[in-house]
Symmetry: C2
Subunit: 354 residues, 2 copies
């Protein structure tokens, strides 16, 4: 006999497994249809079993942001990992070498300093590591600043012992496929002019994933959030709230005034990433209510626009603004089939800051 | 031979143990001098060893926000716990009964519904639980709304089987000791008029803790953040950055432009609680720099106001805006004596959302 979710104590984080499966298949179909590789970013779920399911459905590998995440995924049997972060420092390079010995690994670099560190570690270990040049195509984070710089760093990587130039990687600005395409095309041209091939062009992000084919110079895409989706994605037209698998189930613990309800979940359950939205989540039972404010353990709900108002003890189901941040707060995620608990996932790559 | 912190991989969260000790002693001296009980809120550290040290220095007990936190602290031998949260629902009440059997426990209630649930569980178990009435003295979270309501709920608790009226509890609005004092005094008068005593009047918060004596009707105070302090407290005149024990040590991994540095710590290390401050932390080595933006794994530093600019590989020491949120992200905190690692603390009550 399975457990009904009413029998679970609150607050808890849960995913609707049917929605997860549907989100995964829809994405895989899209990328397969366009001949693009899908390399999911596991930061959204941090759960090995879900990464394995993504690969089983056709993903060409996975993306991790930290070595600690990649180690957890390699332990679980994931065989192809792109680490989209500059790896710097003796301790991390040592772990990178150990990881490169046991899985198909590629990393990124956006400077000579990073490439030199990678080269020293890999050549000393007698390994050759694939290194992609990270390109800042407008998002303003890491990355070389011009297509010409991408070319020069590609040549440098190609010449360094222990490294092989693996292609280009960018986390692009949202809603600017044209800009990203042009930038990457110029970088590819600059690199080819240096007599080098560009085997991989890796682009990322869920918001624009269903326009990935517009960047026709790319070879693969690295969306993360699409597996769970969240209120931010629904607000930006990537599906609707019905496509959001992740939810926090909470209990009303106080009704101090006619217009205020307090639930037993706050920023420790939802994170405080506002994501530019009004309110911190969508309350499915009370669409007119606003999760207006979060303390660490209290969620403050504004009921002023609601007709029906909840009582102490009522349970609410809330779609969070930012799925990835929620996964990093919870040790376990409850996998649901309808209103039944199917299984509990350990969020094994949670909190791997290194 | 102890480890130098240079030998630790980044990012990591650390506390300066000498600052912790000094913060604890200063607070204990103040409250002892004013004849007030100090009942630290452990949400800031979530570490049993530090709670035990607080008690050893003279704290009258501790404060927890969730049963899960209280269970961890009771396991460690903490003998007197105030749980400042409405406990609602069969599953939690069952855990509350188990906890009440093994430690000196008090909880709060702000409605008849909450009090009735507590009464049913406790009387069935043959126990008597101390219950404080939570008062909303202006912070706008949980709590009865008027001193008169406090009186009525106190009488109700007094009459319910399995419960004993334990006094008043408030999380007060910041910088309004006069308002809080007046509210509580009126509530005490209302309760005394009903022939009841008010054994405990418990007030909280670090920002106003050194003015706690101005609320001369209170008997104890529940500060949390004072043990570590943070950039928010320093910005609001509670000590300075030199009193902040908690820091994140991070490495510069990218210098994409003249004015931008990217470190290997983002919202997964700092949380995204802005706390109304500009920037997400104070960078000790670069006082003119701003930790302007956080991605999950990247911290974006604006160097435009800096003369000396860091290179890839440089380490930075950053005081976070909000200590409590940081503790909830890290499984371990490194205890430092100067630049040496003295011990590693497991953050055992981390992530206890229930």
């Amino acid at each position: 006999m399975t457990t009904r979710i009413d029998a679970l104590d609150t607050p808890f984080a849960a995913i609707d497994l049917a929605i997860v499966e549907s989100n995964l298949k829809r994405a895989q179909d899209y990328f397969a249809g366009h001949g693009l590789g899908l390399r999911p970013h596991i930061k959204t779920h941090k759960i090995p079993e879900l990464a394995l399911r993504q690969v089983e459905l056709g993903a060409c590998g996975i993306t991790c942001q930290k070595i600690g995440e990649a180690e957890v995924m390699a332990d679980a049997g994931i065989a192809d990992i792109l680490l989209t972060f500059n790896i710097v420092g003796t301790l991390k390079l040592r772990r990178l070498v150990a990881l490169a010995r046991r899985t198909t690994l590629a990393v990124v670099a956006d400077s000579s300093a990073v490439a030199a560190g990678l080269s020293a570690a890999m050549s000393e270990a007698g390994l050759t590591l694939k290194v992609l040049v990270e390109c800042d195509t407008g998002a303003g984070r890491c990355g070389v600043q011009t297509p010409e710089q991408a070319g020069l760093l590609a040549r440098e990587i190609d010449r360094l012992p222990g490294l092989a130039f693996g292609g280009l990687m960018t986390y692009p600005p949202r809603g600017q496929s044209g800009v990203t395409r042009r930038w990457l095309a110029e970088a590819i041209a600059a690199i080819r002019a240096l007599q080098l091939e560009v085997p991989v062009v890796s682009v990322g992000g869920t918001p624009d994933m269903y326009r990935a084919h517009e960047i026709d110079v790319s070879t693969e895409h690295r969306p993360g959030t699409y597996i769970y989706s969240d209120r931010y994605m629904a607000a930006h037209g990537v599906g609707t709230l019905a496509d959001c698998a992740l939810r926090i189930v909470a209990t009303v613990v106080s009704r101090p005034t006619a217009d205020r309800a307090i639930i037993d979940a706050g920023s420790k359950s939802f994170s405080s990433d506002p994501m530019g939205l009004e309110g911190h989540g969508a309350i499915l039972e009370l669409p007119d209510a606003s999760l207006a404010q979060l303390s660490e353990e209290h969620g403050h709900i504004d009921l002023s626009r609601c007709r029906a108002k909840p009582a102490v003890g009522d349970r609410l189901t809330i779609i969070p603004n930012h799925a990835c941040a929620v996964s990093n707060l919870h040790d376990r995620i409850h996998g649901l089939q309808g209103d039944r608990l199917e299984r509990i996932f350990e969020v094994r790559a949670r909190g791997r800051v290194q």
